[in-house]
């Protein structure tokens, strides 16, 4: 069939790209000089990070008393930020692993960036449990390592210990998953850069990738195992375990069995929103309009709408159970959330997480990127407040009215929170500058996938040229470059249905 024929579906990648063009488009930001916009953004991020580092240094030097916590409220900004960032870190694995297994081809445009975002978010998240300790220099005590402290050992009953394992596992698997996905692209970059440190680094990290079929075969297998066996369960487990921090306690408002699914849904909700926010920025600044089409945002906002409802149902369930339970402390905890002195935070949460996403019922809004951009930012504000509401409003008025207290963050806490954004964006901007934000190899696999399935003769001229230059014995042949997505080339229901 003619390529220009009326597509059965809107193409995933606009602009009738050839694989070669994909390589050129994606590599462009890495090869040229950094734009002033990048520099400006990087500088701002770096300064924010610096502020954060200064705040944390001060806090560790002087004491955790520099936070606004008290005898009643032992956690607030710290763990709110922790859960917030872990939640942000959820979209990456979801897109990479679950959507991969569900053969959602649109994921190829966003998975690389989402995975990177995951890594950086988990890094940000991981900082908070460490610095929130009274004696962070002893943080290694939460690791079960052989020691000479007699019978002292970590407490496997503590949800905080489960967190340690959950977060570290998640970080390691996400990093591996991300790196493995990067290898073919690193090889491409290796071949495009002729000299320099960058070339040598790309060369080292591409692990001698030569694009042969057997390499591709093994690569596909590894990727599938990582996705199916490791990453997918993690998507569900990490936030479930984080939710146990609260669910297994006795604090009214924390002690809730609905938390694991509620937290997972919330995490996907916030993670997706963050991906959308970042992708809209990347699309604009890095001229990736052809790769991140309105169709992508359409799908992602639908997902956001769906998870918004899951979260809404969780809110309703919590409230219903609290009122239905007959437990006066439980009832009070929820009424106090909605109508107590910190009700403002509850209503920010509800309006941002439930009301705002409802605009995504309308296709017009789903495809109007400024609207989507603003909405997703609101959603993330709302999701931050969700954690704040759960943690702080439950703690501030619990069983004994004599100990009721209130909370206000100090400058140090605000600076630390800002600093975590600084860290996140510093890492993300460096990533945009030195690594391909879009998985080239995978994109190539879905080029033209809106068309009737067929073998597309693809010659990646650029890549071939490079390969030829490297290997005198390389043969010129018609190379099908199947990305991971290509596995499903003939089977995808999306393509076969009309």
């Amino acid at each position: 069939m003619d390529r220009a024929a009326w597509p059965l579906r809107e193409p995933l990648i606009a602009g009738d790209k050839t694989p070669g063009q994909v390589t050129i488009d994606v590599s462009r930001p890495l090869e040229g000089k950094a734009t002033p916009l990048w520099w400006a953004a990087f500088l701002v991020s770096l300064v924010t990070l610096g502020v954060g580092i200064a705040a944390v240094t001060y806090q560790i030097r002087v004491g955790i008393g520099t936070w606004g916590l008290n005898r009643t409220i032992g956690w607030s900004f710290d763990i709110t930020n922790f859960v917030f960032w872990v939640g942000i870190g959820h979209a990456g694995t979801l897109i990479s692993a679950i959507l991969f297994l569900l053969r959602q081809k649109w994921r190829t445009s966003v998975n690389r960036a989402a995975e990177a975002m995951t890594l950086f978010a988990v890094m940000c998240a991981g900082i908070f449990p460490i610095i929130h300790m009274g004696r962070p220099w002893l943080a290694f005590w939460v690791l079960p390592y052989p020691n000479f402290r007699g019978p002292l050992w970590v407490n496997f009953r503590s949800p905080l210990l489960w967190d340690v394992f959950a977060i570290s596992t998640y970080f390691i698997i996400s990093a591996i998953f991300w790196y493995v996905g990067l290898i073919p692209d690193l090889a491409t970059l290796r071949d495009r850069f002729k000299t320099g440190v960058q070339q040598r680094l790309y060369s080292f990290f591409s692990l001698g990738w030569n694009g042969s079929l057997s390499v591709w075969n093994r690569y596909e297998t590894v990727y599938l195992i990582l996705a199916a066996a490791l990453a997918t369960p993690l998507v569900l487990s990490v936030h479930s375990i984080v939710s146990f921090d609260f669910a297994t306690s006795v604090v009214p408002g924390w002690h809730t069995t609905v938390f694991p699914p509620y937290f997972v849904a919330g995490a996907i909700f916030s993670g997706m929103s963050m991906v959308v926010t970042l992708m809209i920025i990347a699309r604009k600044t890095m001229r990736l309009e052809d790769y991140l089409t309105h169709r992508h945002f359409d799908i992602m906002t639908k997902l956001i709408l769906a998870t918004s409802w899951m979260v809404a149902i969780a809110y309703a369930t919590e409230f219903f159970i609290a009122l239905y339970s007959g437990n006066e402390y439980e009832r009070f905890a929820f009424l106090n959330r909605a109508m107590g002195p910190m009700a403002w935070s509850y209503w920010i949460m509800v309006s941002c997480n439930i009301l705002v996403p409802q605009i995504f019922w309308f296709r017009r809004f789903r495809r109007t990127l400024p609207v989507v951009f603003v909405a997703t930012i609101f959603i993330n504000i709302g999701m931050w407040f969700e954690r704040f509401v759960i943690i702080t409003t439950s703690l501030h008025r619990d069983f004994l009215p004599s100990s009721w207290a209130s909370y206000a963050p100090t400058k140090i806490e605000l600076a630390t929170f800002a600093g975590s954004f600084g860290l996140f964006f510093t890492c993300f901007l460096l990533f945009c500058r030195f690594l391909p934000v879009i998985a080239m190899a995978e994109i190539k696999g879905v080029l033209g996938s809106h068309l009737r399935p067929q073998t597309v003769p693809i010659v990646d001229e650029v890549a071939l040229e490079a390969t030829a230059a490297r290997s005198a014995t390389a043969e010129l042949e018609e190379v099908a470059i199947p990305g991971p997505g290509a596995v499903s080339l003939d089977l995808s229901p999306e393509e076969t249905s009309t």
Binding site: V142, L160, V251
Partner: protein, 1012 residues
């Protein structure tokens, strides 16, 4: 030694060969450095460098005694019986001394009247011993001097005065020391015009004067609250600050005993204007403007006289009562029915009112039963009329030599001119131990030692003599009053000799014992002795002064009531950080005084807590103070605490941790709180703390008060209450008639748990537990300071308290119930509950808190990394976190630290340990004596200090122990039982002596505005 070595077996030979071989193999460093050698060496260097850097503090070696002093075993505490010098009540204390330094004061159970308890002030007076601002040497004209110089100078002025025949005045607080009285008499006797003026800043002068009028003898009777079935108190805060709170609390408690077969509960009615600690414990509390007390008393007298059939003119006519109809009839009925077992007390400063009180007591047969005038109390001897005379003399420049002892008139007299007038007195000698407002104006300062470093004696109550003995060598060159006076009389002797002389002459003859030395030794050992009281000649009751009082408060203006606060009293303890940080038992405010307004008045003036108001009296005295809205206060009464605003208290500015947003507790140059003494008056030759005609104006300014409790009710704010919202069953209470019918009355309906996912904990030897009797606890807060001293609890300063970070391991939750205009008050001591199913234990990732085999919930400071999860998960919120490294840089004050308890580093969690160090000590003692730990061997610090004996501690494994029996008592309940935490701390239900249940809760608005 020969090199020859013989082998005994082939194996040994082999082994030696192997050793030799391996010896050759080690030390690769001797070889030319290869790769392995290099790695080994660098690895070792790195590791040793890193490890070397790990040590956190330098090792300090303790040096043992070269010659072991007799009776001192390093690390073992010695206890000395002595007498408390915290106030003029002079309770018996036991001072715990470790390695030569006193570290804890406890009540002496064998003492003649204080009976084992010790109040917060007494507990805290320990830390004043180690106050670095105490004077270490006498001062002459503002500079340090030697005692010889001082003595020369003083003798010189004495000679001058003796020859000129000038006036000599000794102004002192109540002197209960027989030796001091003797030497004061002798000292003043040498002058033609020498007089001793006794001045109690917290005066009971009116009571003494009233007895002079009615009994012909100026005396303060002893109040036998334990014998009273009905106690009617007109504003006397006898459980908090009045005369002898420990003694009175203990007696009050003895009259309210619900344990055993025949429980009995005295009936206590309190008629007062402000909410006092005593009022908060009353069975019936009637709000009366102190200005209306006269007419109300007259009415009551009339009603009781009616019942007694006494003929009395003018009493029936008094009307327009400030009290609701029927209240006084009820009181009169009760008093009359309980005649012989009834008691009326009053804190009034009006002699005429006190005369009425005496007459009431006479009518109901209190004298000889609940009031002892034959063996009176000497704890307050102040005479306001003489004081007023002296002030006039000073102001007129008529005094030639003034000696000031134990009082601080420049600070607490309402006459600002006094300071200048003092400058005009030719010679002023102060005996103050520190440079206070008065002693800085003295020509000579002859500092007296702290009571823990000096010999002293006391007869605070007729017939009970006690000894003060030194527990530490004096920290400075100080000298006791008697020693100074004797030196100036030319008969220098040590305080000990003077006391022994005096006792040989005056006390020993009253003791029925063989030899003086035996008597002396026994008294020093026991701390106190009973001797025959010097008989007081009391005449028959003289009714001639009994007159009905009319008038009353003006309805248009407010009445000011200045009151002493538990802890601060008259201000003499203002430099004591423990007492400054002790939450007021009623308001829970620390580090400040304030104007208490009733909720209605606050609303009327449109002010709230922290709004500053201007208080103005008709005589021009004015003061700006922040408002504290006090439920249960009379609408026309404004109450302000005395004892604040002492000079030099800005030393506490830096008591709080310093950091970016940290505010000083008090700014340099300012004072902690405001001195309200200027609002008092000395008009009519009487010290008045109740003033009428007060005007209150909001200023629009605000000033933040720091409180440890911001929500005061057991019911949640109304709009957040579920439809069937009731009080939380944290406090359970009932009334006496119901209790007598059913001992478990007051128990709320609750679901029961028959199954448990976890197995029970197995306790093999002991299972420690505690019970707190809410009917006994008065909220006096002695336990808080006792715990602070015992467990090295840091002081954190006002700003940190405001951030809700106070560190006290035990707190007293105070809740109001019912209508905010006349609420019921409850006090609930709250400390770690040592739950068997402790929520804190499961959540700690590093097992820093865990359960001991004896049921203790232990906190391992070394292991704690400070996640604070345990505190979040504690339903009682009793865990305390070290947010900073709290100040321990006062080396002198650090001597008060208990070496048995670790000083916690920042970043770790801490909490009540059930005084585990005491448990261990008792177990060791029992083991060394070859016996089991007996019930009562272990007393926790809070339990020991409790004057009301509200706290019981013991072993649940011993079925005969008191705690085991209390746990079986139907009155016993567990807080938050439904959480199945299995706490080791339980409470005994509160029983109020009233005929009908309290009014139903509640009408209380959202407190959200205070949560800012």
């Amino acid at each position: 030694m020969s090199d020859k070595r013989y082998w005994k077996s082939l194996e040994e030979l082999d082994a030696r060969a192997e050793q030799a071989e391996s010896a050759e193999r080690v030390s690769p460093l001797e070889e030319p450095i290869g790769r392995r050698g290099f790695l080994l060496a660098s690895g070792f260097t790195l590791a040793s460098g890193v490890l070397g850097g790990c040590s956190r503090s330098p090792v300090e070696k303790a040096i043992p005694y070269l010659d072991q002093p007799d009776g001192i075993v390093p690390g073992r505490a010695a206890w000395y019986a002595t007498t408390c010098g915290g106030c003029t009540a002079r309770c018996g204390v036991l001072a715990k001394s470790r390695d030569g330094r006193p570290i804890k004061l406890e009540g002496n159970p064998d003492h003649g009247f204080s009976a084992g308890g010790l109040c917060a002030v007494g507990q805290a007076s320990l830390v004043e011993l180690y106050d670095s601002q105490r004077l270490g040497a006498p001062r002459l004209q503002g500079r340090e001097a030697t005692w010889d110089e001082v003595d020369r100078e003083v003798r010189h002025s004495i000679e001058g005065v003796v020859t000129s025949g000038g006036r000599v005045r000794l102004l002192s607080d109540t002197v209960t020391s027989l030796t001091e009285q003797r030497w004061i008499r002798r000292f003043l006797g040498q002058f033609p015009d020498g007089r001793h003026v006794v001045y109690d800043p917290l005066s009971s002068s009116a009571i003494l004067d009233a007895h002079l009028a009615t009994h012909g003898h100026r005396l303060l009777p002893r109040y036998k609250l334990d014998r009273a079935e009905v106690i009617v108190s007109f504003g006397a805060d006898f459980l908090g600050t009045w005369i002898s709170p420990v003694e009175l609390t203990a007696a009050y408690r003895r009259g309210r005993d619900l344990e055993g077969e025949s429980p009995h509960l005295s009936y206590h009615a309190q008629l007062e204007g402000r909410m006092s600690l005593t009022g908060s414990n009353a069975d019936s509390r009637v709000v009366v403007d102190p200005g209306d007390v006269g007419p109300v008393l007259s009415q009551l007298v009339g009603k009781v006289a009616d019942r007694a059939g006494a003929e009395l003119a003018g009493f029936g006519a008094v009307s327009a009562s400030a009290v609701e109809e029927g209240v006084l009839d009820d009181l009169a009925d009760r008093l009359w029915r309980a005649r012989g077992q009834a008691l009326v007390v009053s804190g009034s400063e009006s002699v005429r009112e006190q005369v009425l009180v005496n007459y009431l007591n006479e009518l109901v047969g209190a004298y000889g039963a609940t009031l002892d005038v034959e063996r009176p109390s000497y704890q307050r001897q102040g005479d306001d009329r003489r004081l007023a005379g002296l002030v006039k003399e000073i102001q007129d420049g008529d005094v030639d030599l003034l000696l000031i002892r134990g009082v601080n008139p420049v600070y607490d007299m309402p006459t600002p001119e006094l300071a200048e007038a003092l400058e005009a007195v030719p010679t002023v000698i102060s005996f103050s131990g520190s440079l206070d407002e008065t002693s800085t104006r003295a020509d000579v300062v002859c500092p007296e030692p702290h009571f823990l470093e000096a010999w002293g004696d006391s007869e605070a109550v007729a017939g009970v003599v006690s000894i003060t003995q030194p527990v530490i060598r004096p920290l400075g060159r100080t000298r006791a009053l008697a020693a100074s006076l004797s030196a100036w009389l030319g008969e220098p002797a040590s305080a000990l000799d003077l006391i022994q002389d005096c006792w040989r002459d005056e006390v020993f003859p009253r003791a029925a014992i063989g030899a003086f030395q035996t008597f002396w030794d026994r008294t020093v050992h026991d701390g106190s002795a009973r001797v025959t009281a010097i008989p007081t000649e009391v005449g028959p009751f003289d009714r001639s002064m009994v007159r009905s009082l009319s008038g009353g408060a003006e309805p248009d203006n407010y009445t000011l009531e200045l009151y002493p606060k538990v802890g601060m009293l008259d201000g003499r303890h203002a430099h004591n950080p423990w007492l400054q940080e002790l939450p007021d038992p009623v308001t829970k405010v620390v580090w400040d005084n304030y104007a208490c307004l009733s909720p209605r008045t606050a609303k009327h003036l449109d002010v709230g807590q922290n709004d500053v108001v201007l208080l103005e009296l008709p005589d021009g005295a004015a003061l700006e103070l922040p408002v504290y809205v006090q439920p249960g206060q009379h609408d026309r009464v404004v109450a302000v605490a005395l004892g604040y605003g002492r000079a030099g208290t800005d030393r506490f500015g830096t008591v709080a941790p310093k950091w970016l947003e940290g505010k000083p507790t008090v700014v340099p140059g300012a004072t902690v709180g405001t001195n309200a003494a200027s609002l008092a008056s000395l008009e009519g030759r009487r010290r008045r703390y109740v003033r009428s005609g007060l005007r209150v104006t909001p200023t629009g300014a605000t000033y933040d008060l720091a409180t440890t409790q911001i929500y005061h009710y057991l019911s949640v704010p109304e709009k957040l209450a579920p439809a069937d919202g009731k009080d939380r069953p944290i406090i359970q209470e009932t009334i006496l008639p119901e209790f007598l019918e059913d001992r478990s009355a007051g128990k709320p309906h609750m679901h029961h748990f028959d199954s448990d996912l976890w197995g029970e904990h197995e306790f093999e030897t002991h299972h420690w537990a505690m019970a707190v009797d809410l009917s006994a606890c008065t909220g006096c807060s002695a336990c808080i300071v006792s715990c602070q001293a015992e467990n090295n609890v840091p002081v954190v300063g006002k700003d940190e308290v405001k951030r809700r970070r106070e560190m006290h391991w035990i707190r007293i939750d105070r809740y109001y119930r019912g209508d905010e205009h006349s609420p019921d008050t409850v006090h609930q001591p709250m400390m770690c509950h040592h739950c068997d199913n402790a929520p804190c234990e499961t959540v700690c990732p590093v097992t820093a808190t865990l359960h001991s085999s004896e049921g203790l919930n232990m906190q391992v400071y070394n292991r704690c990394v400070g996640t604070r999860y345990c505190a979040n998960n504690c339903p009682f919120k009793v865990r305390r976190f070290n947010w900073f490294n709290y100040a321990h840089d006062d080396k002198l004050q650090n001597l008060a630290l208990n070496p048995d308890v670790v000083v916690r580093e920042r970043g770790v969690m801490e909490k009540c340990s059930f005084c585990v160090q005491r448990i261990q000590e008792a177990k060791h003692t029992a083991t060394s004596q070859g016996r089991e730990v007996a019930d009562g061997d272990i007393q926790t610090a809070c339990q020991q200090s409790c004057p009301a004996q509200a706290i019981v501690f013991g072993d649940l494994k011993d079925p005969e122990s008191r705690i085991s029996k209390m746990r079986q008592d139907p009155r016993h309940y567990l807080v938050l039982e439904e959480l199945n935490l299995r706490p080791s701390v339980g409470y005994m239900r509160l029983v109020r002596n009233r005929p009908t249940p309290a009014s139903t809760p509640l009408a209380e608005g959202e407190e959200g505005s205070h949560h800012g």
